[in-house]
């Protein structure tokens, strides 16, 4: 079923919309959640939460890309769930690695957090990514949005792992400079 048809089901408040999203994007969203949580049960609950959220949000929301919309919701759920469980267990999944990698882009200044509007940060990152090549942008997002392991990104992009790592390293460096130039660091 096409996304437009699914959205029409949402607008008509047909619960079949949830079944269609589950069928079409459930696997994708579970993959995203699994990269963060490494727990099938938790990932499934994130997907279920995502379905509930879409039911409450559409309408009035009109997602441009339903796949990305669902994945973003699931990812956010997974991040929150990860934070909640963090104190109870010793982490896992790709999130700790991703956070560690990104640490080089930021300076841990206490007052920075108060100064930065998160929306500005999002806009800045968007501009940064749009200036990058499509290939690099995709590698970056596969890593830091979908949180795929480097090996999976290499398979997805038909690249060598070393190339993926190199691209990520250079992009992190450039992002840091970019954020500094924008006055965000």
């Amino acid at each position: 079923m096409h996304d437009d048809e699914i959205l029409a089901l949402y607008r008509s408040r047909s619960e079949r919309a949830l079944q269609e999203v589950q069928s079409k994007y459930g696997g994708l969203c579970r993959t995203v959640a699994m990269q963060i949580l490494r727990n099938a049960e938790d990932a499934e609950e994130c997907v279920n939460d995502m379905l509930y959220q879409t039911w409450n949000a559409i309408p009035p929301e009109e997602p441009v890309r339903l796949s990305a919309y669902c994945a973003a919701l699931t990812r956010n759920n997974a991040l929150n769930r990860y934070e909640a469980k963090k104190a109870k267990r010793r982490g896992g999944g790709e999130l700790p690695l991703v956070l560690e990698e990104l640490s080089g882009c930021l300076r841990a200044e206490d007052n920075t957090e108060r100064m930065i509007d998160k929306i500005v940060l999002t806009d800045t990152i968007e501009r940064f990514l749009r200036d990058e090549s499509a290939k690099h942008r995709r590698v970056f997002l596969l890593r830091y949005f979908s949180m795929l392991p480097v090996t999976d990104i290499a398979a997805e992009m038909s690249m060598r792992e070393g190339t993926v790592k190199s691209i990520l390293k250079r992009m992190r460096d450039r992002l840091q400079v970019y954020l500094e130039q924008e006055g965000l660091l």
């Binding site: 079409k24 699994m34 997805e156």
Partner: protein
């Protein structure tokens, strides 16, 4: 701004951008209505490994009273295309050096390790460094001087230069970021006393490659070294952040370097697929100038489990398993003389470290091994620690739990009465799980179950387990009938990882014999608790996320295990001398020391307890010794639970592998010992402040087996100074007083037993008050195996000039271990 903010910001990017970041293959499959099944790989995620290592490393350092952790961060890989060219360039550059420092260090290292002068030219196998790193407060400077590797073990030489004598160097270990690297420890090579009283220490640290798919020769490092002081105590290592060194040194300033001196190894294919050692299938081997490495794939081990858990017991029976090859080739035998087997990393790699013979030797050895007429599989009998796979046998009508407990403990001890047989079976689409028995004492319950993979072993292309099998789950009911829930009760520790006991093929069907354990942490025992079993349907572990859900997901076939556990008999300890312990109990399986509140200990009390409390061995029955953590950098006792956790993960690194210590919240300490020949009149001693306190006959009344003979051995005398001290009537260690010199002595070993004994040369020297002498160098013995046949005697000369130099006149204690039995003997240097 935090990293989380950055991630959140990325998550709020426009959907057209995010769409680019979705995994296309998964998306395509999903759009085709064929959403892929999420598979649990069974492989511990990278971070998980690192966290465990981080916590373990921290705990190990804390165990060594360590306040300082030095770290190496090795990362990334270099392109293979440039390897040959770079290696050649590096080799040419190395030729310009007359004798690189790393060559001298490696020669010193092997000379002291083997006891024979090593003249191997290591030129070209390493690289000189002259980098210095300093802690933020300047307390220590680390001077990196060289690195050497053969592609499997990375040797790093460095000096530790303290600012002054105020803060002793407490330990060094590595913080590894790559999952395929394992910190192999750090060895003191030499020490230099300074005029200000401080000591400069020169160390060699080793790091091991454990993943055959990621070899060192294909590596480089972009972010090199950091040093750090771990200011957190062990409990903080539970969190993600604490797994990373707390205070970095000048990491960013260190220049990238490449491990170009490492060459690609040449593998030997093992032609016989049945070649096994301790249940592990050897797939390939490689011989380098520094050792022999066997890649063993144990198909029955889940990668999710710590490697120690998955190893067959035979491989844990010795800290350093000795490999002795047949005498058909004198050169080969000579070259292998002194090898030791380290089970390193995860379950896939066994490493054999050898005395190097030079760069040209390995090829010769490769040919020699390849040309041997002996079927490779026959070599397995030369692994002294190798044991046949245990089989299920009911021939002598013993209950199954007796068999399994005997297998578990590797003993003939009759466990009758300490368990019950079970017959509970669950099955899902992939596995059938059959629980066969449970046994234990009031403080520890072992449960045994067989796993039948119905569709074969699901491994992915990387050799990792694709799924977990369902794990039996326990639910506890207290004495009042209240269900304590499926969640872990705070009073009990449930072993979280499936533990493989053995495997076999029955009628073409593979069977994994597994066991798990539940340990009481309350100090009151699990008696009176009714224990039910069910099967966890959750893929990732024992604990369902909530009790309601677990009841529906779990099998309805929960059954009660008959309560065979007996109430332990607690006895009060011998007055205040044993503070902080208030009572103790001894069962078939161990001794349990109970303390009301370890948190009330002062630092001095804690230190005293840490260093001097021990359980004396009586008559060799109890392989029992207490291990205690050290203090944190702030002088506070470390969290017991964390320390115990690390110990559980690395029992192979302890001398007494057969012990299991459980600590929780400073409440109770359990020591489980190998139940060999426990006798009703065993004499146990607790020694505090050097004074042995007899605990008389502590065995509780419920051990009434007539098969256990009464003991009549006299109590050990630990204070009488003699030149001969024996801890057993069948093994004896004598020092020839007339041959004692300031640098060595002759030791006579006598074996009056009916079986051969194989032991190593490890030893240490102590003052007469039991405090160890400070070694000049930790490399004081060779690792060669010494065989002592039944009824035989052999004399060995021990030279401690490398380790302790010339001893001052006086009396000392010599301590060594034969056949697992510790021996001490005193001697006098005149």
């Amino acid at each position: 701004m935090t990293n989380k903010d950055l991630l959140d910001a990325i998550g709020r990017l426009p959907q057209d951008l995010l769409d680019e970041g979705l995994p296309k293959k998964t998306a395509q499959a999903a759009e085709a209505g064929d959403a892929p099944e999420i598979k649990m790989t069974g492989q511990p995620e990278k971070r998980s490994i690192r966290l465990r290592m981080g916590a373990a490393v921290a705990a190990m350092c804390l165990l060594l009273n360590g306040a300082l952790i030095g770290g190496l961060i090795l990362a990334n890989r270099k392109s293979k295309e440039n390897r040959a060219q770079i290696s050649l360039a590096n080799e040419l550059s190395e030729q310009k050096l007359e004798t690189p420092g790393y060559v001298r260090d490696m020669q010193d290292y092997y000379t002291t390790v083997t006891g024979r002068e090593c003249t191997v030219d290591f030129t070209g196998m390493g690289k000189e460094f002259d980098d210095r790193f300093e802690l933020e407060d300047g307390a220590f400077t680390i001077h990196l001087t060289g690195m050497v590797s053969d592609g499997f073990v990375l040797y790093t030489m460095f000096d530790v230069i303290p600012r002054d004598a105020s803060e002793p160097f407490g330990g060094f270990n590595a913080y590894i970021t790559e999952e395929s690297m394992l910190g192999g420890g750090c060895t003191l090579l030499r020490r230099e006393k300074r005029e200000d009283g401080a000591e400069n220490l020169h160390y060699v640290a080793t790091h091991l490659r454990t993943d055959p798919n990621h070899l060192m020769f294909d590596s480089k490092s972009e972010e090199l070294f950091c040093i750090c002081r771990n200011k957190d105590d062990a409990k903080d290592n539970q969190s993600d952040e604490a797994a990373k060194p707390v205070n970095y040194g000048p990491v960013a300033e260190s220049a990238p370097f490449r491990l170009d001196f490492i060459a690609e190894p040449e593998y030997i294919s093992m032609t016989d697929p049945d070649f096994r050692t301790g249940g592990s299938v050897i797939e390939k081997a490689v011989v380098t100038p520094l050792g022999m490495y066997l890649y063993a794939k144990n198909e029955n081990i889940t990668d999710s489990a710590p490697y120690v858990s998955g190893l067959p017991k035979s491989e844990l029976s010795e800290e350093n398993e000795q490999l002795i090859l047949p005498d058909g080739s004198s050169k080969t035998v000579k070259w292998l003389d002194g090898w030791k087997l380290n089970a390193s990393g995860e379950s896939h790699l066994r490493m054999l470290f050898a005395e190097p013979l030079g760069k040209d030797t390995p090829a010769d050895s490769v040919i020699r091994i390849g040309e041997t007429e002996i079927p490779v599989s026959d070599l397995s009998r030369y692994f002294s620690g190798a044991q046949p796979e245990p089989q299920i046998q009911q021939a002598d009508n013993k209950p199954a739990y007796v068999k399994w407990m005997q297998t578990l403990y590797d003993t003939d001890y009759d466990f009758t009465g300490s368990g019950t047989d079970l017959d509970i079976t669950w099955e899902d689409h992939g596995y059938r799980v059959h629980m066969t028995a449970a046994a234990g004492d009031a403080f520890r319950l072992y449960y045994f179950y067989d796993v039948y993979p119905l569709e074969g072993q699901p491994y992915d292309k990387d050799g990792n387990r694709d799924e977990y099998f369902p794990i039996p789950l326990f639910s506890f009911y207290d004495e009042n009938g209240e269900n304590l829930g499926w969640k872990r009760h705070t009073g009990y520790r449930i072993g979280e990882n499936p533990l493989l006991l053995s495997s076999e093929t029955v009628d073409g069907q593979e069977v994994w014999h597994m066991f798990g354990r539940v340990t009481d942490l309350t100090g009151t025992g699990m008696h009176g608790c009714t224990i039910y079993t069910c099967l966890s349907a959750q893929l990732s572990g024992l604990e369902p996320s909530n009790s309601e859900a677990s009841d529906t997901r779990s099998s309805a076939e929960a059954k009660e295990i008959p309560n065979f556990m007996q109430k332990p008999e607690f006895r009060s300890v011998n007055g205040q001398a044993l503070k902080p312990y208030t009572s103790y109990a001894v069962t078939q399986l161990g001794i349990v020391l109970v303390s009301d509140d370890l948190g009330e200990l002062t630092a001095d009390e804690f230190e005293t307890m840490s260093s001097q409390l021990e359980i004396e061995q009586a008559e060799g029955e109890w392989q029992c010794e207490a291990f205690y953590p050290g203090k944190s950098a702030a002088g506070e006792p470390v969290a017991w639970q964390d320390w115990a956790l690390s110990w559980m993960q690395y029992p192979v690194q302890t001398t007494f592998w057969n012990l299991a210590g459980i600590e929780s919240g400073g409440v109770v300490i359990c020591h489980f010992a190998k139940p060999l020949d426990i006798r009703p009149s065993i004499n146990m001693y607790l020694k505090l402040n050097g004074v042995p306190l007899k605990v008389n006959n502590p065995l509780p009344d419920f051990i009434t087996s007539d098969a256990q003979p009464a003991a009549t051995e006299p109590e050990p005398d630990t204070t009488t100074a003699t030149t001969q001290t024996t801890a057993s009537s069948v093994l004896a260690v004598n020092i020839r007083a007339e041959n004692v010199t300031p640098t060595g002595c002759d030791i006579v070993f006598t074996n009056d037993a009916n079986s051969d004994v194989c032991f190593g040369r490890a030893f240490r020297l102590l003052n007469m008050d039991g405090t160890p002498l400070s070694p000049l160098c930790e490399l004081t013995f060779t690792e060669e195996a010494l065989e002592l046949p039944a009824g035989g005697t052999r004399t060995e000369h021990y030279d401690w000039s490398n380790g302790y130099g010339n001893l001052e006149p006086g009396s000392y204690l010599f301590e060594t271990r034969v056949g697992g039995t510790p021996f001490t003997a005193n001697f006098t240097v005149s």
